[in-house]
């Protein structure tokens, strides 16, 4: 019998399967969120490659129109509902209790339930590929009447059921975050000393709590229409097809902020650490986050300008206004870097990549706020470019920045810097090659969601460029996966605080013990670990704490 020696530096990923399956530890649950999300990211990415290969030249090459529609529908559904939203919730799960100096989330078992609903919902949604007629194929928006029983098969019912479970997972997670943030903060951790990531998770949780039940209502109405002869969205029987769009976007526009605010939070953690300066304008940043959350509820109908059924000036004005708090954040980030001492480790590369590309995603959004211009570019590839500059150039780059930043804390080992930089460069180039030409394709009049186009349309060259870029993005995932596998076994030992961090997670061991902290430093500012390293903030003598 061989004796097994456990490496004490890295117990987190060597725990038994049983322990992982039954855990209520927020850190293990957070890591499972990340792994589950990355798997769906890969699945969604493969579907995206199917779409890109099909569009690389005129004519039908590899799939028929029916499967093409399933591919882009499930690509978007996986990426939005099973990758971006849950992976940010995963970072929240791992980091928020540590940031607050708390031993765990407020409701650890509900936390485990929120996680386990995700693979279940995802499997239900994906099982549509096995159903008669294939997976859901009416786009991730699933507008009726197309998504009704007359035009769509069982895949749509599976999509509705899966998404309802995912939505329930979100709602439970949001309640858990809110209670954790309001009730579990360590002594001294006032609201205005919380890390920005915690603020963004707080605002995101409020958005989820207010918006997701509305999506669930839309899904249930659609399910009743499809299966029990309801007429909510059937105009032939007194229903209203536009009603679905209103209810759907009342969730799905705030959902864009659910998908970007925690990513902004990650960026706001990375930039100060790697520039050795505090975040510029902490309170302005908090107010901007709250403003984005509040305004986010008043812009949903800008997805519906061409329906002829919305009050255009109001939604146009609100959509323009939401650029203001977003701009404030951008300037605060740049001012944080300004006169700093920047160390270009991989997390900072991703953060600056986020800044450069989220800027484009913000500016090209203003075009859609100008209603007449939206009439021209709505439902064209311009919109596809916009959404990817926000959610890929924005959120996904922040996600990878976050992975490189917190991997040492999660595993006790560093990821390899060279492989990280190779991945960043490939992803940055591939991303811009894929999505920048889509602006031009949209302006030239190429609609979304078409499987084929005429050779005479003049869209062939740019589509080919975009497809090549898609493969460069896919290639960038290889060094990442290799990096994770190798570094887990033989990465450099990280130590407690490899980056000279500011926030409380760097005050405990890597990985942290199950109860998180043996002792906490004093919390006198939003940078307690920085204060402990460099001495207390000037003028501080008050010792009347707990």
């Amino acid at each position: 019998m061989a004796t097994t020696t456990l490496n004490p530096a890295a117990p987190a990923y060597r725990s038994s399967l049983y322990e992982w399956l039954t855990t209520t530890d927020h850190k293990k649950i957070g890591i499972m969120y990340l792994i589950n999300s990355i798997l769906f990211f890969i699945a969604g990415g493969i579907l995206a490659l199917v779409v890109r290969v099909e569009l690389s030249q005129p004519g039908l090459q590899i799939v028929n129109e029916a499967f093409y529609n399933q591919a882009f529908t499930m690509h978007a559904s996986f990426m939005l509902f099973l990758f971006v939203i849950p992976i940010l919730a995963g970072f929240g799960n791992y980091v928020v209790p540590l940031h607050l100096g708390a031993p765990d989330m407020a409701f650890p078992r509900i936390n485990a339930l929120s996680f386990w609903l995700l693979p279940l919902g995802g499997a239900l949604m994906a099982s549509g590929f096995l159903a008669t007629g294939g997976a859901a194929a009416s786009g991730w928006t699933e507008y009726p009447p197309l998504s009704g029983s007359k035009f769509s098969g069982a895949g749509t019912d599976l999509w509705i059921m899966g998404l309802t479970l995912i939505g329930t997972s979100s709602i439970l997670g949001a309640i858990n975050f809110l209670v954790t943030i309001f009730k579990m903060r360590a002594p001294g951790m006032t609201l205005f000393r919380m890390p920005i990531l915690v603020w963004t998770v707080l605002v995101t949780s409020v958005l989820i709590l207010m918006a997701t039940p509305v999506l669930t209502s839309a899904l249930i109405m659609l399910f009743i229409d499809r299966n029990y002869g309801g007429h909510f969205f059937d105009p032939a029987n007194g229903g209203n097809a536009v009603l679905y769009q209103n209810v759907f976007w009342f969730y799905s526009h705030p959902a864009v902020y659910i998908m970007i605010l925690p990513a902004m939070g990650i960026i706001s953690e990375i930039l100060p650490v790697f520039s050795r300066k505090p975040l510029f304008g902490y309170k302005a940043f908090v107010f901007a986050t709250v403003a984005i959350g509040a305004l986010g509820f008043s812009v949903w109908a800008h997805h519906m300008f061409t329906t002829g059924a919305v009050f255009l000036p109001f939604f146009s004005l609100m959509t323009f206004l939401i650029a203001v708090p977003t701009g404030v954040k951008m300037f605060n980030w740049i001012a944080t870097l300004w006169r700093g001492q920047l160390t270009f480790k991989t997390p900072l590369l991703y953060a600056t990549g986020f800044l450069t590309m989220f800027l484009i995603g913000g500016i090209n959004g203003a075009f859609s706020a100008a209603v007449p211009v939206d009439f021209a570019i709505h439902d064209t590839y311009w919109v596809v470019a916009h959404i990817h500059y926000v959610l890929f150039g924005g959120s996904v780059f922040a996600v990878f920045g976050g992975i490189y930043y917190w991997f040492p804390k999660m595993t006790g080992r560093m990821l390899d810097e060279t492989l990280g930089k190779v991945q960043f460069v490939l992803m940055f180039i591939g991303f811009n090659m894929t999505f920048f030409p889509m602006h031009q394709l949209g302006l030239m009049g190429m609609p979304r969601r078409i499987a084929d186009y005429a050779a005479s349309a003049g869209w062939s060259e740019l589509n080919l460029v975009a497809t090549i870029g898609g493969f460069v993005i896919a290639a960038s995932m290889l060094p990442f996966l290799w990096n994770v596998l190798v570094s887990l076994r033989s990465g450099e030992i990280a130590g407690d605080d490899p980056w000279e961090g500011n926030t409380l997670e760097w005050a405990t061991s890597s990985p942290p013990p199950p109860y998180n902290f043996d002792s906490l430093p004093e919390i006198r500012s939003e940078r307690p670990v920085f204060d402990a390293r460099h001495g207390q903030p000037a003028g501080h003598t008050d010792q009347t704490g707990h």
Partner: protein
């Protein structure tokens, strides 16, 4: 401050730079090889590749686009330059051991960079509202067309002043089809959908509007120049959404009036009785349902006339049967019938060979006809 030389470029950075250079060189080579000049590149930032918009409303939209693009481009260049400058200028150098100045914020600059973007977006809102009132303006119209969308085709109903149907244009594309309009006269288009959501989209009009069941949307415009303008459904409507195309044929007023008169006469003429099927040789049965033919292959005898009994079961959807020989030349074209309806097409004798048959309205409906 330290003045020691910078030798901080690690192997990772070097590899990254090499990859960047290689990939960028490849991109430039691909662009150059496909004939993309700087002028074409610049034009591609404007709608329809900087082409001339085709309607009065589209010119207003294009002017608005130019303003939004100008402001957006300036903001992009300024902010991006700030990011690049910061990233290059403030790299940590050897000897940077002390902390940089710990600046927590500045209320004055926060107010400035809140106020300036607010002013910019309010300006954009005002001008886009003004443009919107031009694009949405209503007036007396010379022509009123109802575009009827159903999976996966467009039909154009020409209406009289009272809104009654004068005649229908069943074919969405090609000679003798399409949405035929006069140049220089205001046109009213109203949209109706028979099944799911569709959208009427003509890129050169810089405009689209949804066709939603249970709701009639309408819009007006005046076409500037004669010509053929490509249009296509822009709201996902099902499997063959991508083939739901149409054309706008803009004609000078005199030509349009002549065309319109011919169409009215055709519609008022007594329909010719369908040819008797019994007299015309063997009868082939062919059906159309859910925008597909009932069979993908038909056989007919060579050298003798025959009849195709065609049954269109698609409610409100027009179909027909058109036969082409192996060179692609049309040898027979049946009248378009709107389902549910039946027709007997008498086809003259064909030489032996392989033919294809398809629906003129739906090019994706096809089959083979073997004559032997």
């Amino acid at each position: 401050m330290s003045t020691s030389p910078r030798s901080r470029t690690g192997s990772g950075a070097r590899v990254a730079v090499v990859i960047a250079v290689v990939v960028i060189a490849a991109v430039v080579a691909v662009l150059a090889a496909s004939g993309i000049t700087p002028q074409r590149l610049w034009d591609s930032f404007f709608p329809i590749g900087a082409g001339t918009p085709a309607t009065d409303r589209a010119h207003a939209t294009r002017s608005l686009y130019d303003i939004v693009f100008g402001i957006g481009a300036v903001i992009f260049v300024l902010v991006e330059a700030m990011i690049v400058f910061t990233v290059l200028r403030y790299r940590r150098k050897p000897g940077d051991d002390g902390l940089p100045p710990q600046i927590h914020g500045n209320n004055l600059v926060e107010v400035i960079w809140t106020a300036i973007p607010t002013a910019i977006v309010l300006f954009l809102f005002v001008i886009s509202w003004q443009t919107l009132s031009k694009v949405e303006a209503k007036g007396p119209d010379a022509v009123h067309v109802r575009a009827v969308a159903s999976r996966y085709q467009w039909q154009f109903d020409y209406l009289d002043a009272q809104g009654n149907l004068t005649f229908s244009q069943n074919l969405p594309i090609g000679d003798g089809g399409g949405l035929v309009l006069p140049v220089g006269e205001p046109v009213l288009v109203s949209l109706r959908s028979m099944d799911v959501n569709h959208a009427f989209y003509v890129p050169k009009f810089l405009f689209k509007r949804d066709a939603i069941p249970g709701r009639e949307n309408s819009f007006e415009f005046t076409v500037d120049e004669p010509g053929t303008y490509r249009g296509q459904c822009a709201e996902l409507c099902g499997t063959f959404h991508g083939s739901m195309v149409f054309e706008v044929h803009a004609l000078p007023v005199a030509e349009f009036d002549a065309w319109y008169k011919t169409q009215v006469e055709k519609a008022n003429a007594t329909p010719t009785p369908p040819p008797s099927g019994a007299a015309a040789g063997p009868t082939l049965e062919l059906g159309a349902m859910n925008v597909a033919f009932s069979t993908a292959s038909l056989q007919a005898p060579a050298g003798s006339a025959f009849t195709i009994h065609f049954k269109n079961d698609d409610a409100a959807v027009p179909h027909n049967v058109e036969i082409k020989d192996s060179t692609g030349a049309t040898v027979f074209k049946g009248d378009i019938i709107t389902g549910p309806a039946e027709a007997s097409y008498g086809v003259k004798a064909l030489p032996a060979g392989a033919y294809t048959f398809h629906c003129t309205v739906h090019p994706n409906m096809t089959g083979t006809l073997t004559v032997q």
